[in-house]
Amino acid sequence: MMKFKKAGLVADLFPNIRLMQTSGHFMFNYHSETTGAVHGLRVLYSSVHLVLVMAQFGFTFGNLVQESDDVNDLAANTITVLFFTHTLTKYLYFAIRSKLFYRTLGIWNQANSHPLFVESNNRYHALSLKKMRQLLIIVLTATIFSASSWTTITFFGESVRVRKDPENENITVSTEIPRLLIKSWYPWDAMSGLPHLLSLIYQVYYVFFSMCHANLLDSLFCSWLIFACEQLMHLKEILKPLMELSATLDTYVPKTADLFRAPSANSQDNLVDNDFNEKNNHNDDLDLRGIYSTRQELGAHYRSGALQTFNSGGGGIGPNGLTKKQELMVRSAIKYWVERHKHVVRLVTAIGDSYGIALLLHMLTSTIMLTLLAYQATKIDGVNPYAFSVIGYLLYALGQVFHFCIFGNRLIEESSSVMEAAYSCHWYDGSEEAKTFVQIVCQQCQKAMSISGAKFFTISLDLFASVLGAVVTYFMVLIQLK
């Protein structure tokens, strides 16, 4: 048994992963012990959760069929069924496509690094970690609050079913139904006593765990997006020093030595030999002053190879007399930037592949549910549990959509602002190589990286605005028709 080592995204998202495993998701990696017996126990644990969740979903659906004669009850029950369809969809989706999720979680295991940019990398990594924790806390708080307010509201109001009297059309008859969180059809009589208590506990567990299943998976997705955005911010920040470094290859830059000093809080060490640098600079002053003034008059830039002959001692490369090591450092810095950017693109593609279809199904369910909620909202006639529950459903559904739309939008904005950062990094002082580098980067970053719901729509605040607009429109139209 290998001792499991947390690396990359798994280490960052470990609380989220553990919570998902506790709530019963079919995630069996990322444990230290993977013996057959323990693995079997874990599978059993998740299967028990699945059976309980599906059973209650079946009971709720049974109640829907039972009460399908009254339009109002039908609408209300359909909303409840759709609400829990989200959970079931996400639960089953994760179980079926868990390989893609593992692949996305493992994509950042081998990140490249460069000594000059380590500090910036660490800073942004810490920032993304902080944001991910904050998101998890917020999502958990919201889930606990929703579950407890649902439980509380059950104990207000009358727990009755209202029907028209078969003999007389004008009189309504109310029959007593069990006071439970969700109206369900049970094969046992849950009116009072021990069955009632057990059913209540079952339903409290069901509501809380269902919400957790859906929300934890959504927050995993959003945490990935936070990570990608912070990486893009890191890349934008190091573009300027990268340009300055690249300029040293074939343009005269004063104080070249400073550029090779890694920015760090406590140490003032140079990365490359101090003496050698000073000797080179000394050489510059002695031998090349005359040549530089000529070059400045001509205003020409020379390629690295041509200048080899001008340097007398030390064999420095370029007009700044760089050592071989310094030249390698510059070229590796450019390579680091491009490789890191390609890595981020790979991560975003993997996120889109793993979660795209789940988003499509979520939006389909949400659209139908919000339409029905708009209809229900027209029947609010006062401050009563009915009003609170309708508004609660509305806010929860819109909140879920807002949750991933806002992070999807941030990804789009960050990835398209890389182009602006590339333009504003003093490329005009740079070498030919630097200019063509900026050219290709600008070209690639014009197309923003976005997450799409299986190519049908893009996740952005536009989507949220259209959903909100549609709900308001339906509500207005239905109010008019009443």
């Binding site: 390698l328 590796s332 693109v345 290709i440 070209q443 190519k455």
Partner: protein
Amino acid sequence: MTKSTNSDAFEIQKRIMTMTGFWPHRSPTIFYRIYGVIHYGMVASFALSLLISNAVVKDFSQLIQSWSMFVAILNCSIKFTIFYFKMPAFLDLLDFLHSPHFTYYEEEYDVYLARIIRFARVLVKLFLCSGVTTVILILIAPLLNTVRERQTPLPFPLDLKKQPFYIYIAVYVFQCFALFSAAWTSIGFDNLSTSMMGLSASYSKILRETIVKITDLQVLLRNNELRNILLLYGVSDCRINKMFCKCVEHHLAIIEFTEAIEDIFTYVFLSQFICSAAGICLVGFTFMNAAPGSLDFIFALSFLGTLMFQISLYCTFGNEVTVQSSRIGDACYDTEWVYCGPVVRKTMFLIMERSKRPLILTAGKFVDLSLSSLVAVVKSAASYAAVLFQVMNK
């Protein structure tokens, strides 16, 4: 392992359309021409008879059914008419498919082309089975229905109870032949345009892989004795640039191919879109009106399924063409361009610039063939059906 031939993608469609005389030939025999004209005449007169019977039929549900069938058959005749005018262009396209720009790639990338050819063949067989089953069901239905005497599969302007028996048989046979001919040719025709779109998408994919392979690091290192890979900057520029220029020529060939498809099939797509939207609306309305389990319900369900499948086919393939062509720029970025000099970078920049404008297939320049337009068509058809339902049930 030999490479697949791209004409395999529409071989079945060619056989289907030759059977009803619609496949274009450069110099067809007189017999073939007359055969094609007869088929076309049958379909056109069938559409006309449905139109006349729409004015005569009294029963409301039959009227809606007849209107939806008329829309479908009208769609077929319009498509065939448009294609007739585009035949020379289509023949040029078939010749263009033999150009070396479609056979340059390495054998390892042939798998993409083979995959799309296999998929196109499976699709046409599936479509054929379901289409033939539906047509046979429609044609047999009057024989099983003992309520009304002398009923034809689809409405006909004459009241057949008053006519002699042989006229009834003649009308029945005419409707059988015309419906079969229309359905058969239509199946081959729809799958023809979609398999062309599939070919374009797979060629874009092959080009992407070829571009990424150009700057294969192993090859670069082998050809240069530099031990440190970072000093490879600009060393193999001439050779790499030549390979990129060849890729540009292949890219241009793909663009020409896709634009030819657009030119030939664009009004066909438009007619398909409009008729599908109208058909979905009418059939959806029938669906809502009919009692579950009755013959009308089953007919409406199967017809709805066929229409939805047809339009989804076009939109999915069109979307695929757009997506694959926009990824060619991404392929350029995925190469090891860091090791290439300014000559190569400039060429790459221009390739990326062109790929920023992806290849979009349109329906008569009104609508793009994409998944979002599919959603829009279905949404608008559903809302028209709902409005019709409200109006009729006041």
